[in-house]
Structures are given as structure tokens and as C-alpha cells.
Symmetry: C4
Subunit: 359 residues, 4 copies
């Protein structure tokens, strides 16, 4: 089949994965309301073409928190690439390197963070989940530093695991060979269960182990790497995190996999950008399927945009080649939008480039 747009990989993926794996990956928490919201949010916007502008020196390069990237497109941290393809994170990392894309490696992976780092390009970041014991978290952090990850992305938006109903319906089970190798040797048993007489297994259970402001400060005190926080949707949280000294934020509803019914990050992005001022680094993820989606997120306030599921879809279809091709297509789709919209640089992409039909 002809693959013309990055989104074609999403259409092809079901033919390359076990149905239950596909359900697990494509689904969201609960009824998938926030997954659907992510897509609908993009559909509200149109892009103004602009005429006769000279964009012949155009490029997609950006500087983000002091670092240069070939383009504003990132690979979002996604657990267990092995579900999509045996090559797993290592293949993804190779692809990312080939097309100059910064990969954000997830804590949760069946390849070690060291192996992934070795395959990835110089721009590689590490997504950190806080572990029950600080010494374990610290060890993980040190290992990430040791193999040259250049930023830490602390994901704090999923303190509770809400079941993915599509995965359940498809009877998804994590295959035995897909284990979180990075966490081997750490004590990851949940500390709290909330099973006292009048305890809630959420308030007195999972939430006791949830990340706190103190944890954020502690992580920042332990590393010289830039620390991003992932999963912000409310402007007040964004402001508070910035005031705490966090390097940048990922505006995200976790691909609709955390609170089912959370807004799409895209819908709240303008308010967050307005609260943060023009210069604070913001990344966006959720529902990105095309270069025009990337363009829209940039126009609405993001400095960079990450794709989640698409990387697994492309990986399932054609391994490293698929991921590289998908990223190349996305980048070209973005370039087309930029060129047509008369934007020679990413900085030229502003809210004025978008039109919102009344419908």
C-alpha cells in the first residue's frame, strides 16, 4: 500500500499487531473520551494560507531551553515499544537519530535505558517516573545522566491507573517477555493500598504515593539536567511549576490515558501560553496525526510537539524504517503548512495563522 501521509501508519497498524495490543495502544482510559477530544480539538481550526512570501530560506530549526533541534517534533515517551515490534525502543531510537529527532525514552521499557541511549542521537531525553523509594529514583536518574540523556521529563499526571476499557474488552495482557528492565532490582511494590477500615484505595492508597511538590524540588536538587514536567492542563499548575524553577512543561492529557474526561491539551494550550508569557518552554502532545496538527499546536502556543501512538504504529508496520519514514512525512507535512502559511521559521507560526470557522 502507498504510504503518503504519516497518518497512514495509524490505518495500517491494525494489520501488523495483535488486536489486543492494538486495543491497548490505541485506547485510552475508561471510555476514551479524552482520546476523542484530542482529535476533535484539532478539527476546530483551519490554517490561513498566505501569499507571495519569500520562505526560500525557511527551515524548521528551533532552540528550546538553550538547545538546538532540527525541528520541533519530538517522540513522546511511550512505554514498551516491544508491543509493537521486536526491535522495540532500540529501533525507534535508531530511527529518531536518522531523522534528527529527539526521543524521550520512557522509564517503562523492555530495552534498557542504556541500550536505547546508545542507539539514539545526541538529542535524547529521559522520561522519569518517581519510584517508591527515593534511592531507586536517584539511581535511575544517575544512570540516565551517565548515558547522556540531556533532559529529564518528569511525568506527574498519572498517579492513578484507570483501566483502558478497549484493552480489557480485547483481553489484553502484557506478554511475559515485556518487562520493565530499567526497574530491575528496585523496590517498586506500591507502598499504600488504602485498605484500612474506612480507607479509600485512592485517597489513602495510590495518592499517598503520588508525586508531590516536594518530590519536584528534590528531583531538581539532585540533577543539573533541565527538568521538564509532563502532564499539565491547568494554567495555575503551569504557573506554580514555573515558579518552582522547572525548565519547561509538556501540556498533555497523557494521550487520553489518565483521567478519562480530561480536556484536550490543545483546548487549554492558549490559556497556558497566556499565563506563562511568550518565552517559557512549552511542549504539546496528544492526538497529533499530521503536520498540520503540529502547525496548529505551535500556533496555539507550543514550542515543540511530541507524537505518541504514531511512533508505535509506524514501528509495527516497518520497524526503524517505518518510524524514520513517519517522522520524515510529519516533518514534510509541517514544512508544507509553514511554506503555504508563509512561515519561514517556527517562530513565525502564531495564533494569527489560524482561522476558527463558526461551525
Amino acid at each position: 500500500a502507498d504510504i503518503r501521509n504519516a497518518q497512514d501508519y495509524a490505518a495500517l497498524a491494525p494489520h501488523f499487531m495483535a488486536p489486543s495490543h492494538h486495543a491497548y495502544i490505541s485506547g485510552g482510559s475508561g471510555y476514551g473520551l479524552s482520546v476523542a477530544a484530542n482529535v476533535a480539538a484539532f478539527e476546530q481550526w483551519a490554517i490561513y494560507p498566505r501569499l507571495l512570501r519569500d520562505v526560500s530560506a525557511g527551515h524548521t530549526r528551533i532552540e528550546l531551553a538553550g538547545e538546538r533541534h532540527a525541528h520541533p517534533l519530538f517522540l513522546a515517551p511511550v512505554a514498551f515499544h516491544k508491543l509493537a515490534h521486536a526491535g522495540a525502543e532500540i529501533d525507534t531510537a535508531r530511527a529518531a537519530q536518522a531523522v534528527e529527532t529527539c526521543m524521550i525514552a520512557s522509564t517503562q521499557s523492555a530495552c534498557s535505558l542504556e541500550d536505547t541511549a546508545a542507539a539514539a542521537g545526541p538529542q535524547r531525553w529521559f522520561q522519569l517516573y518517581l519510584l517508591p523509594r527515593r534511592e531507586d529514583t536517584l539511581d535511575l536518574l544517575r544512570r540516565a545522566e551517565a548515558v547522556g540523556y540531556r533532559a529529564i521529563v518528569l511525568t506527574v499526571d498519572a498517579p492513578i491507573q484507570v483501566a483502558n476499557r478497549r484493552a480489557l474488552a480485547a483481553k489484553f495482557q502484557m506478554p511475559p517477555d515485556v518487562v520493565s528492565v530499567n526497574l530491575r532490582g528496585y523496590d517498586i511494590a506500591p507502598r499504600f493500598a488504602g485498605n484500612g477500615p474506612s480507607d479509600s484505595r485512592f485517597f489513602q492508597g495510590a495518592m499517598r504515593g503520588a508525586p508531590s511538590w516536594d518530590d519536584i524540588r528534590w528531583v531538581m536538587s539532585q540533577t543539573r539536567l533541565p527538568v521538564w514536567v509532563k502532564g499539565v492542563l491547568h494554567p495555575d499548575d503551569a504557573v506554580a511549576l514555573r515558579d518552582e524553577g522547572v525548565t519547561g512543561l509538556a501540556v498533555s492529557n497523557h494521550g487520553g490515558r489518565s483521567l478519562d474526561g480530561a480536556p484536550s491539551g490543545l483546548d487549554v494550550l492558549p490559556a497556558i501560553r497566556a499565563a506563562m508569557g511568550p518565552d517559557y518552554p512549552l511542549m504539546y502532545d496528544g492526538g497529533v496525526q499530521s503536520g498540520s496538527d503540529i502547525f496548529k499546536a505551535l500556533a496555539l502556543g507550543a514550542d515543540a510537539v511530541a507524537v505518541g501512538r504514531l511512533q508505535l504504529y509506524a514501528l509495527s508496520v516497518a520497524g526503524a524504517l517505518g518510524v524514520a519514514h513517519m517522522l520524515k512525512l510529519l516533518r514534510e507535512e509541517l514544512e508544507i503548512c509553514m511554506a503555504m502559511a508563509g512561515c519561514a521559521t517556527v517562530a513565525d507560526i502564531t495564533g494569527k495563522a489560524l482561522f476558527k470557522p463558526a461551525r
Copy 2:
């Protein structure tokens, strides 16, 4: 089948009930416009996740009109549980007791209010319909007081019975063993038929027997129990009822079973809350299918939220166990929303927790 969410009971119920019973229960008056509106009203809203908040002391306890409840979730008064399951109100009451839920027992039931009270927990309320003769109404009230119901919920929104077209299409008939035992011995023949030469069977018929302001005052004068009024949708009615001294109000369109085409209570709730000020007790019911629905109703101004049909669905599937499980699931779903939204208590749930996408 796996039951993961309270709403699963709605999906399963058709397999556990006669089709005509299901049509009668799930349908609304007329074409079901208000039933549909109840569901659509919730879909307009998203819930903001909030980060890093300490909710480890979180709980769902509320104080409502001076009484403590383990959570803000009530069982709405629903007639004739026997249509769903032989265990009927007694099973429902047992379930409610097991999970510390206040049941509002309906006047219309095939178990006596005394038997239901015996099975229910300490928090039990009684829903009163005014009978044609005041002495009968008074007798009913005294019986409710005698067996320890702790509040009276006077339902005043259904002076006219409008046919449920789905029930009619399914040829629903009340089974012979489903009779209103509470009303045995009372004179319940309608007083007025509106069959004079130029009479309307509504204006000069049913509406002559409809509840009046005088009736409200009379009921309040006859009991020391708190008196709630159920079925309010207009802010002016709410204000007038409060001024009359009513304890609290149930904002409700009677599950879409009274005036077909009435607004969803959820859509009018904010205006009613605004008219009443922050402290006046308001309950909401209509279309609640999940913990996030409960969260939204609380955020939009309710102090407590009742479920109607879901209890019958759960009862039909698994009797008392089903109802208890359904309530537990709802409560957990609410806790998840609260935890994710950074709300440690029900009082923390305000309109600021919601986001309304432009679509």
C-alpha cells in the same frame, strides 16, 4: 462478563429483564427528549486534572442539612423495584446499607415502607407523593416517621402522567403482583376527571389534584422531619420554595419522565445555585452514569447526587450484590475524579474544576 464501571450495569440490564420492563424503566415520557438531554448535558463538560496536590487525607464525607453522609451519592426514589428483581426494595435497601448509602424510598413500591426501612441503613429518607385525601397523606407520613425515615422528599413535578412511548411500543403492563402496598386502604381514586362539557382533562382534571403551595406548607406543619422538594428546574421556583422554609431541593427533570422536552437539570443547576447562594442544600439527579457525572454535578452546584435507573439495572443483574457493587464503583469513580482533580473533599469540587470545550 467483566464489570468495570457502574455504567456496565446499564449495558447488561437488557439481558436480565423482560424487554417491556426494560423499555418502561429506561424510557422517558413521550419521545424521550429529556432523557437524551440528561446525557448530553454531561458530555459538554471536561474535568481539569490538577497536579501534585496532597489528597492523602481525602474523603467523600459530607454534611447535608446537618446530617453526615459517607459520600454525596444517594439512591433516587424509584417506584417498583420488583420490575427489576424479585428482591425488590428490600434488596436495594440492604445494598444501600452495606455501602453506607442513603436510600430515598419511593411511595410507590411493592414492598412496604416498613419492610424497606428495616432493611435500610440509618440514613434512609422517604419520598412522599401527596394522596387525594390529606388524612391518608398524613397517615403515610406518620408511618414513615414511625420507622425512622429521616427526611421527607416531596415530589411535586409530575402532576400529569405522560405516556412513555417506548413502554407502550413494548406493550408494557404492570404485572399483577406489582402493586403499591404502601397505599393499601387509602382512597387513591383521582378526584377530578375534567369531563364537564368544556372541561380539559388536564386543567380541570389532573391539575385540580396537583400539589399546591398550600400543600407544601401543610406538610411542613405536620412533621418535624426535614422536608425536601423534588423536581425543581426553574430558579424562581427554587427561591420561592426556599422562602417557604423547605429544607432542600432536588434539581431534577424526573429522569425525563415528566414533561418531555423539559431541560436537563444539569443545564439549569448553575443558575439555581447562583439564585440560592452557596449554602442552601441542593441535590441533583438525572442521567448520572459515572463518577465523573457525579463530580460534574457537584462542581456545577449540587451538594449531593442521586442515581435512579442505574440502581434498577444493577438490581436486575445481581440483586443486592449488584446494587452494592454499582454504588461502590460509582463512589470509586468519584474518588478517582476527585483525586485526579486535586480535590480532597467534596467542598473542594467547584465550577473551577470544569472546562467547557468550545465545540
Copy 3:
């Protein structure tokens, strides 16, 4: 089959009519856009139930332009009832009389206006189309006066006949026995064809014979009967017609049978009412299918409401009985809405009775 709501007649009609007749009647001009708009316009609104109001003296009587009517429900002028049932206008008129409904007899009918008048009740009106020759129009007017029609409704909104695509697709042809008996002996050949070299068959054809302001004045000068004008959609036209001395206006898009793409009358009714002040007589028609539709039109500014197609549907199903039953159902549905909304009289029905959900 059980007939519970007036609308049931619409559902049954296809079983009682030739498909091509049904297509002709149910269809609108062109693609039926305005037919669909008429229905959608009602769906935007909900009706507020109000509590505890004394409506036991309630009634639907109205006074319209000095005349009393048992209720605000009229039969819109509809051509050729014979397409629906052999009893035709005479059956409809009998039904109208039986349930005290004012019938507006169309100029275009296969029963003579005299026969229809004889069968109709005291409240009967005559809908007039201007004929090519004034002497013929005058003769028609005199005949209508002679048999006691009490008002003239001048329809001016259909100067051009736009094809009904559904009727065409169903190969509808007017049956040979359905002829406009009222016009026998008149010269009704179109005066203008617009077939000069650069002529338009609309501008220089049909529109040359279209009603003018002068015609309106002339009709009013020729009769002492109240003269209504039917087919108004723009507030400026409404104001100009009132200033000309017209008794009342029918806000109508001709059931979506004139300009395809015209707004629904319901959507423009509030602006017209606002322009006319509270007292000027306004009738509404278009898309009315239920008592709640009538209630909504009254709330949005109409003093009376007419049904078009529904009368033919009921006629096709059960002749005079069907029409009488349909009208009785509509009236009862209206009474239910009024009673539930706490409106004892039609005058109590105002815009405050409606709620518009944000969706």
C-alpha cells in the same frame, strides 16, 4: 396500531397514500432544506416546567383580532386534500368543526369553497391567491364572503413555483380528478412568460404576475373582512404590512415549499414579534408536530399556530375522524405543556417559559 401522539399520523401516512402523493405532500421545494430547518428550529428549545401553580381554571381560549377561538390551533391552508383522502376538504372541515378548530380553506381545492364552508364550523377562514385578472379575484372574494368565511388570508410568498425534487423523483402527477374547482371559469393562464430575447422567465415572467403592494391595498379596499397576509419572514416586511393596515400576519416559510433555503419562521419569529410590539396578531406555521411545538411557537411570539401536513396525514389515515383525533391530541399535548409550565392561559406563555441549552 396505537396512536398516542399527533405525530403518529405522520408516521402512519406513508401506509395510507400512494408513494408519489406522500412525496409530493411531505417534500419541500428543491432539496427540502427549509423543511428540515422547520423541524430543527423547534429542537433548539426546551420548556421549563413550573411547580405548584394553580392552573385548575386553565383553558386554551384566545381572542385573535377580536374573534374568540377555543384554542390557538388552526388548520393551515393546504391545497387538494383529495390527494390524501376521497373525503377531501369536506371531511377536514367536518373534523375542524367537531373540535372547534378554525380551518383556513385554500383557494386550491378539489371541493368548492362553498361545500367546504357548509361543512366547516363558524370559525372558517379563506386563503386567497391573487388571480391574473382582478375581476376573477373579486368574484372569488365575493363568493368567500357569501358563504361566511370570516377572514381572508392572502398568501404572497410563493410567486414562483420551485420544483419539489422528492415529488419529481417519485414521478408525482396531479391525478386527473384533482382539479381546482374554485377557479373554474376564471382566466388563470399566466400573463407573462418572460420569453422576449433577453428576458428572464422569472423577472420578466412569473414576477410580473406576482402580488404587489398595490394588490394588497386593493384587496383590503374590496372587503370588510379582516385581511391577513401569509408568508412573512423578514421583520421589515412585517412592519410595512402592518403599516398598510393588514389585520395580522402568518409567519411562515410555506412549509419549506417556496424558496428552498429560506429560514424557518420559528427562528425569525422573535425578531418579528419584537418589531411588531406585543399586541399585533401573528400566526405561525411550519414544522409543527406536537403540542410542545405549538407551545414553543406561542412562547416565541405567535398568537396562534397552524398545522399543514399533519392534517393531510391524519386525513389519509382515518378521514374526518383522523383529523379530529389529531387535533384533539395536539390540543391535549398543548394543555399538558401549559399545565406543566404553569400557564393557565395562552397569554401566560411567554419567552420566559423556554430554555435554550448551550448545545
Copy 4:
């Protein structure tokens, strides 16, 4: 089959064309989002009928940039009519002449601009694409002048060719006999490919050859013909082009065939008209399927309206006769709207003629 409305040709076309040709023509770039937006944009509006106005001297004549046209309906420049019918541009031109319609002949055609000019009526315009070499562009321009084209329409909105996914899926290939005869002998090989090490094939490729402000000025300096620019969607571009001295603008998203996701021209037309003042010549195209669409575009600010695909559809169904008939139908549909809306002239069609339902 009965052809009653211009739009019927769209429905019939698939029966008269190879599926892949139909896919190529009917599709848009990418996923066809802007094609769909063009249709949806019209559906938002209704047209107010107006009563009793004398339009018997009505006509559709317009003066546009000093030239008279029998009506405001143009044939948009469309490449390769041969895909639809062997008669190709020559048949279309004959039809246009027969019904006094100005055809805008495309640079891209399998009939020579000379042959097309010979078949077309006195009002014929030429759509110019800039060629890689100015001398070639100039030659083309001179040829157009030589055979009496009366205006130049410079299309500048498609610097990048975005794949039409429907055409790809249907495996469309340009047939070998469909070649751009106008360009024979010119050097049309793209100048830039963007294949340097870090080059983008868009920024450093296609966009290097894209039209510039300088090109606009150069074209205007080379001809005394009026120069229109086609493909404007942003008011700022419109203002800048006017300030440059361009005669008129075609507000257009290229029939959804350039940037997929561009707004519909209709949605942006009012803002462009507002920016340009009442007198500046504006043409609209995109999604026009009926006379009411033409009416709406005129009401929203256009002085004239062009149809694209419809001409190919009609051509495929019945050659020159089809195109002439389609144009006649469109014109009559427009006349009906005008007559019903009380507009005797195109100038009478203003925004006040439209109504926007709240839905």
C-alpha cells in the same frame, strides 16, 4: 434521468467518467478537509425571502472592473477538461459563449489557448501560471493578448502540489494524450529541488520557484490587460495586493486542492470585503453548487462567482450542451433567489439578505 438542478450534474458525473478521473477531479488535496469546508460554509446561511417587491425589471447584469457581463457567474480556470470529455476546453468555451458566460481558460489545458479563444465568447479571460523562465511567461502572456483574452488571472495559491489522496487511492494517472499543449516548447523543468545536504524540498525546493511580489509587479508591468490575482484568503494579503495595483482578487481556496485545511473562502469573504471597502472587485469560488450558493457568496461580499468542478461534471455528462444547460440552470436558480429575496439587481444582494440560524 431528469436534470432539474445544476447540482444534478455532480450526481450524474460518476456515471460518465472513469472512476479514477472522477476521484482526481472531485477530490482535494490530502484528506479533502477544505473541500468539505467549502460545502459546509454555505450550509450555515439561509436566505430571507422578501415580499411584494417589484422585480419585474430585474436582471443579472453586472459591471466588473469596467466590463459588462450578462451575469455574475464565471467559469473558474480548471485544468485539462479532456479528462471529462473529448470535446474538452473547446466544448466548454462554446457552451460559455452560448450562455454569455465568461470563461477563464487555464494555462494547463490539452487544447491550445488559441483554439479555446476561438470557441469562447467575447468575454474570455486567461488564467496564468508563472513559468520558471520569465521569457516563457511573457510569451504565454503575449499569446493570450493576441487572441483577445480580456483579463489575466494570476494564480498564486498553489506553490506546492499536495497529493490528492482520493486520486491516489483510485490510481489516477494523467492519460498520455492529456498534455499541456500551451507549454510546448517552454522550459518548465523545476529549477530547484531542495536536495542539498540540509535542504528542504519545500523551502529550498518548490518555494524557491514560487511567485513573489516582484513577479506580480513584473506581470503588471508587461501587460495592459487587467490583472487579477487568484487564491486569496487572508485580508492582509488582499489589502497588500490591492495596494500593489492589482485589478481584482479571486477569494478562493483553490477548490480545496492547495493547502488541505485552509479555510473556506466563503468563511473569510466578509472580512476581506470589509478590509477592501465596497468597490474593490472580488470574485469568489469554491464549493458552489447552486444558484443559492451564488446568491450567498454575492451577499457575503463577492461581485462575481466562479464554478470549478460543476463545469467538468456537466461536460462529462453532455459535452457543450451539458455545460450550457448547467450554466443556464445555475443562472435561473440565481434569478429565483433574487426574485424571491426581492433583489432586482445583483447590487441589491447584500448581507442583509442572509440569516444565520443559531445552530
